[in-house]
Symmetry: C2
Subunit: 405 residues, 2 copies
Amino acid sequence: MIVQKYGGTSVGSAARIRRVSRRIANTVAQGHQVVVVVSAMGHTTDRLIALAESVNPEPPARELDMLIANGETITAPLVAMCLAGMGVPAISLSGAQAGVRTSGQHSRARIKDIKPDRIVEALGKNQVPVIAGFQGVTAELDITTLGRGGSDTTAVALAAALRAESCEIYTDVDGIFTADPRVVKAAKKLTHVQYDEMLELAAVGARIMHPRAVEIAELYSVPIHVRSSFHDRVGTMIVAHVPMEDRQRVRGIAQETNVAKITVVGVRDRPGVAATIFEPLADAGISVDVIVQNIGRSGHTDLTFSVAESDLKAAEKLVKTAAKAVGAQRVSSAAGIAKLSIVGTGMLGTPGIAARMFRALAEAGINIEMISTSEIRITCLVSRDQVGKGVRILHHAFELDQDLA
Amino acid sequence: MIVQKYGGTSVGSAARIRRVSRRIANTVAQGHQVVVVVSAMGHTTDRLIALAESVNPEPPARELDMLIANGETITAPLVAMCLAGMGVPAISLSGAQAGVRTSGQHSRARIKDIKPDRIVEALGKNQVPVIAGFQGVTAELDITTLGRGGSDTTAVALAAALRAESCEIYTDVDGIFTADPRVVKAAKKLTHVQYDEMLELAAVGARIMHPRAVEIAELYSVPIHVRSSFHDRVGTMIVAHVPMEDRQRVRGIAQETNVAKITVVGVRDRPGVAATIFEPLADAGISVDVIVQNIGRSGHTDLTFSVAESDLKAAEKLVKTAAKAVGAQRVSSAAGIAKLSIVGTGMLGTPGIAARMFRALAEAGINIEMISTSEIRITCLVSRDQVGKGVRILHHAFELDQDLA
């Protein structure tokens, strides 16, 4: 059994729905049981949100969910009827009908469990279940949506619930690359990526898979195959362990350009200061990313952190209030920053990787503003106008433009 | 408690949704409990059907229902969030959430019962329930649609289930007129129409209310107020009994131009012939309307009946097969026919009305091809190019252009 998820671009027109349906029909003809998850067509969700805002600039979350869920419940029956026209029996199911039970946090609901009775029933009748992704239903039968990466999450959660062999994520790119191919012409497609590498890549700007879907896949050991809906070539497998020869090295370069930094200058170096500053941001749903605290002089320190540039205005306001409360000297901020990351399992155990990164950037005249590391990632914050150059330099420095073993 | 139903034109744009919401808010401010039923915006349903046909020219009925039900579940949350923005708490409900249980005949499901628990709960919290019309759900939780006149049917059925004071049907016309105002400039708006008159008017071409909604209203004694969503003036009340002075007279002239006739020539005059001819039409969902059988000579007779011109091709094919089976001589057909009807309770008991109709048409040089009568209606089939003239002639002949008492 295979779960296939088709994103908005893949089902963006009647012609594309026909193409997707042919692919599903082929998979069925090869003897697989197929469960399909679909997103809203093209820009449908954006159009529905625009319609909502034209009648209420701040629509209640329950009603907005009820509205935008229509995007996926339009695609699902279209794919099901297209399959039927090709002689492949199919049945569309809303999130509610597919048994996707969620929490009640509208616009960012979490899947609590899946009762896939109707999916199993359909498979038993040799029907292809075509499920509206991105949505679920509360215990009170209110429609919820899952937020960013929602359809991927539906697909992976279904694959876990149904113990499917794998979950194929069809998209408009060929797979996961060593760097963004629009930035680095020599970027290579990776045949395998580990869950943890994918999580780091997603966290630092690779938009292909949302971390929450990858997390569920890792938890339930669901292999994910990220591939293009425009041709039949294989894409990238996301799995627990990549082949031995791909380990212990830098696997990819990621970038994220929507970054700004905020510095709280002259903070008293005592317990509770960071909490006072970051709690209001968390309450407002603003993610704080890289945090650096300089070594203090005479009991004072500077605290610098990055936020999404789109959150900068809101964040600055909250931080200024908090900074006053903790008696900081002042707050400064800067937009126009970017994150530049190298990712690879076992990197930390390989001496010299960080030094090689810093050296390569220095030789290219790129100044590093902040540094953050995890077990499998090193991130440098640099000026945004230098990030493209930085990605290319690092891609070459770590020999990612060589053919992979 | 008032049930208000807003049709597709009334909610056809964001601006119109705001206007409709203001009207609902005003009704709430006047101290009424309001339950709202909405149709799909403008041409949404047509667009969804076109999309379906572009992926499958003969989409399975279950999937088509699943698809087009989105039209109403888009409007409902838009109206609910617009109301919320005006400070009127509101909650949108799909047919399933509103407890509209139907039969499983997709695209023409019948309401079996309504379990309005969530509607009652919402009203108890002073929320305006905004219900997606035209749709319901089977015992298996499959989405169904109610077919033509579906949203009106939802509204009237809800008014009956909730024992509402009245059911207001908002539309793009001012009410029920003595004739189509586009054809007869002097047409007058009727203040009251009886259920049975409305049924006859609908059956012969007045498109404002679908007969099935009127039937439910009559069965459960729900007064219907047909009125415009573009101004506040009262429209037409559809009730069990009109005021005394409006009875015993012709109340309206109706026309229907999508008519063709089929004649089976030289049928043996024996039992079972009509059944053999009409059963295949019924099985194919083709409505047969006026049926006339001439008096036979030497054991043979001609059978003539009318069908919708849009059904003519399909009907002819079926009738030719059946005619062969009963040994008829031949089948002939003609398009370009129209129905011209006068409607009014108690007409049958008023001598001379039929004669007056036939005389008026004769004097205008309009040939009558077929005649059909009911207790409260006389219908003449005439050439389509003469129907406009016929409506004007009859409107004048029955003094409908006089101010009503």
